[in-house]
């Protein structure tokens, strides 16, 4: 007994001792996720979703069903004559949704007119241009001086609607997806799936998956789950992957089925329930989009598509610089008539002033030597930032000022400098 009491005392002292030890060892960063969570909730999220596909495939209805809003209240349907002259438009609807204190700024980008004309050659061009524009905008903002409130308008996900009436992918579907699969996350969706019997759905999905592979289209891949996840999760994940393309049905109306009020479509032969997973994959799509993979879609957009765009952009800029420099070597002309990729609405005088400033700095550095790769990288962080901001003038100017060897070095620098730390 005494032993035990002493033991307990001993133990308790031990315990205290452990506690102190624990205090010493416990750093406390396990609470970081909570902190991040709190901050994000305060800041709110944003998400840009693009819907593309021919008219009449239920895109608007599906969007309304997904987010339980009515974004298309007063829409007018164009008649055939009006549609003949219409080109593909890009329309944006933004809506702020709040649920349990979490705010989501949702932007839906629609593409009315896509695939409607008799001749649809390159009708995806305006869509691709729009996506590139958003990337460019972000590129500039990111390279700008004030990066506090950058608006992220990049398209995070594109739902492409495949018609259930065809035998799989149509030529237009293939061309669209191939033009955009490296710019945006494409999630193919089989529209108006209530026109298909279960076996038809299966056959079509299989055919579409086959054709996607056959044509080398890179649709959004769900990340593989970690090997230490539990079986149920893995199974769900596998089910999700096997359901591509999602066979969806949308509805703006609520109907009465078996005494319950559900979102659905009322037919003489039965009621289709939108949220019934036996009827369609709407729930899977919604969960994927909103509940489980929204962050991943944004990450892939940021890490893969945007970086591709950026690398491509920078490469083409440097290529232009090299070309011009080579041309100047031959002709010894002054370099003020470079084809400068102009930024939107910049005053020329401002540009010129900055160009002159930059020239001074570069001449300085050239005199001081070229060994400061790392430093160069850091220093040039801001410099490059300025360059990009002012229509990429400085690269050209640099090229103009420096001579042979510094040229090469400079190129090397600009091509090999480390990628920018992510701002967001």
């Amino acid at each position: 007994m005494e032993n035990s009491s002493t033991n307990s005392r001993f133990r308790s002292s031990l315990f205290n001792h452990d506690d102190e030890d624990q205090d010493k060892e416990y750093v406390g960063f396990a609470t970081l996720p909570n902190q991040v969570h709190r901050k994000s909730v305060k800041k709110g999220f944003d998400f840009t979703l693009m819907v593309a596909g021919e008219s009449g495939l239920g895109k608007s209805t599906l969007v309304n069903s997904l987010f339980l809003t009515d974004l298309y209240k007063d829409r007018k349907l164009l008649n055939a004559e009006e549609r003949i002259t219409q080109t593909v438009e890009i329309t944006k609807h933004t809506v702020d949704i709040e649920e349990k204190g979490v705010k989501l700024k949702l932007t839906i980008v629609d593409t009315p007119g896509f695939g409607d004309a008799v001749n649809n050659t390159e009708c995806w061009k305006s869509v691709a241009d729009y996506i590139d524009q958003q990337f460019e905008q972000y590129f500039r903002d990111e390279s700008g001086l004030n990066r506090k409130n950058i608006q992220d308008n990049r398209v995070h996900c594109c739902l492409y609607f495949i018609s259930p009436f065809g035998h799989g992918l149509r030529p237009l579907d293939v061309e669209f997806m191939k033009a955009l699969h490296e710019k945006v996350n494409i999630v193919p969706v089989l529209a108006k799936a209530d026109t298909l019997t279960p076996s038809e759905v299966k056959k079509k999905k299989f055919k579409i998956r086959e054709e996607i592979e056959q044509y080398g289209i890179k649709i959004y891949q769900f990340p593989d789950c970690d090997s230490d996840e539990d079986e149920e999760f893995k199974q769900q994940d596998q089910e999700l992957k096997d359901s591509i393309p999602f066979a969806v049905i949308g509805s703006n109306t609520v109907v009465e089925a078996k005494g319950r009020r559900v979102r659905g479509r009322l037919y003489p032969w039965g009621i289709v329930e939108v949220e019934n997973s036996a009827h369609c994959d709407f729930v899977k799509l919604r969960n994927m989009l909103v509940r489980t993979h929204m962050q991943d879609l944004k990450d892939v957009t940021r890490e893969t598509h945007y970086e591709n765009y950026r690398a491509h952009c920078i490469q083409s800029m440097t290529r232009m610089v090299v070309k011009e420099r080579n041309r100047n070597k031959l002709t010894r002309e002054s370099g003020t008539d470079f084809p400068i990729p102009t930024g939107p609405g910049l005053a020329d005088t401002e540009t010129e002033k900055l160009i002159r400033e930059k020239d001074e700095e570069v001449r300085h550095r050239a005199e001081h030597g070229h060994g400061h790769d790392h430093q160069h990288g850091h220093d040039l962080n801001n410099e490059h930032v300025h360059e990009h901001n002012h229509g990429h003038d400085h690269e050209h100017e640099h090229g103009h000022e420096q001579h042979q060897d510094p040229h090469v070095e400079h190129e090397a620098h600009s091509e090999h400098h480390p990628p920018y730390p992510e701002g967001s």
Binding site: S55, L77, N79, A80, N120, S163, G166, P171, K192
Partner: protein, 376 residues
């Protein structure tokens, strides 16, 4: 001359008297007396249009037996019916044709290695079958148009179809102009063109308008809403109304055309049809059990869509229109109106060009096929 006039006058005076006599006789007959009276055997008008009513006859002539004769002859000879189906791939054209004629008559069912691939160009393929029902034989030809509307650039995808239709008219015309004509000219003219509209629920698309504008002038078009099981009843009505509006605005005439209604009876019947086109159809070749009956239908998780149930879709209406009530009319309209229009145009063209398209010139070989084709 004066005598003549007097005679004429007398005649005129007599006729009313005769008329009164006849009227009295008719009244007597109507009172139920036997037709033992001898009617006046005048060849002058005894009615407004020279019509002798059956009840005026004093015996059974047997004129109505001509119907039997006709029936027997046509049964022996059989009917020909050429139907063309046009629409994007995957709209259920082959299935619908099979369902309409309750047999495997479509190209899909007949080609051994049929693959559902989208072809790069529009080419027409026709498949013929002889179907028999209750001793009546029908040679049915289904003309399919794979590749229509499937490409990214569909400009002029209707041209091969227009050429095909005109070629058939040309063939018939030549046969007709031959000195030694066949007893029955083989009729490959397109009697009916079913145009499949995808069930978008919105309106006619530009390609629909372009196609129907051009082909409505040379063939009888019957537009249908394909795979209509994706539209609720309200959506269906709205869609149809918008389509009818679009058709009117663009001046597209679909079958049954209002101008060809022969009499009020036809008009009433056809008006009803015109109010419900385009028919919203669903097709299938599978059968399921519903309430103990075997029905043609599509089975989904939320119910069975019965193809022949008019509450579900309008397949039965389409079938009745095409086969049970208006099949002969379709052929007549094609022969009397579309073909004649073509013929007149061709003859005028060839006259204008100084090369008269006549039996003589054809036989003499003075008119080459290439020359006539260039006039098309």
């Amino acid at each position: 001359m004066r005598e003549d006039t007097v005679q004429e006058l007398q005649l005129e005076l007599e006729v009313p008297a005769q008329m009164e006599e006849r009227e009295r006789e008719v009244e007597e007959e109507e009172r139920g007396e036997e037709e033992m009276e001898q009617p006046p055997c005048t060849l002058t008008e005894s009615g407004p249009q020279g019509l002798i009513q059956g009840k005026d006859l004093f015996g059974y002539v047997g004129i109505e037996a001509v119907l039997d004769q006709m029936r027997r002859k046509t049964m022996k000879a059989g009917f020909e019916f050429n139907i063309m189906v046009v629409g994007q791939s995957g709209l259920g054209k082959s299935t619908l044709v099979n369902t309409l004629f309750k047999s495997k008559v479509s190209r899909k069912s007949c080609t051994p290695n049929y693959e559902e691939k989208i072809s790069k160009t529009v080419h027409l393929q026709s498949v013929s079958h002889v179907i028999e029902e209750k001793g009546v034989k029908m040679k049915l030809t289904v003309i399919d148009t794979p590749g229509f509307g499937d490409q990214i650039n569909n400009e002029n995808c209707w041209e091969p179809i227009v050429s095909y239709v005109n070629e058939q008219y040309e063939k018939y015309l030549r046969e007709e102009l031959h000195v030694n004509r066949k007893r029955r000219i083989p009729d490959s003219r397109v009697h009916c063109c079913i145009y499949f509209l995808p069930a978008t629920g919105h309106r006619l698309r530009p390609i629909d308008v372009e196609f129907m504008k051009r082909l409505g002038k040379i063939v009888s078009i019957v537009p249908v809403i394909a795979k209509a099981d994706t539209l609720t009843m309200e959506e269906r009505q709205d869609f149809k109304q918008r389509i009818r509006q679009d058709l009117q605005v663009n001046g597209i005439r679909v079958y049954p055309q209002r101008e060809y209604d022969e009499d009020t009876e036809d008009r009433i019947l056809n008006d009803k049809i015109r109010e419900s086109i385009p028919f919203a159809v669903v097709g299938t070749d599978k059968e399921h059990q519903v309430n103990g009956n075997k029905v043609l239908g599509r089975k989904t998780k939320w119910g069975i869509i019965e193809v022949e149930n008019v509450a579900h879709c309008e397949f039965a209406n389409l079938r009745d229109l095409l086969i049970r009530s208006h099949l002969q009319d379709l052929k007549d309209v094609t022969h009397n109106i579309h073909y004649e229009t073509y013929r007149v145009r061709r003859l005028n063209e060839s006259n204008a060009n100084g090369m008269a398209l006549s039996p003589l010139s054809l036989e003499n070989g003075t008119l080459d096929k290439s020359e006539t084709d260039s006039h098309l």
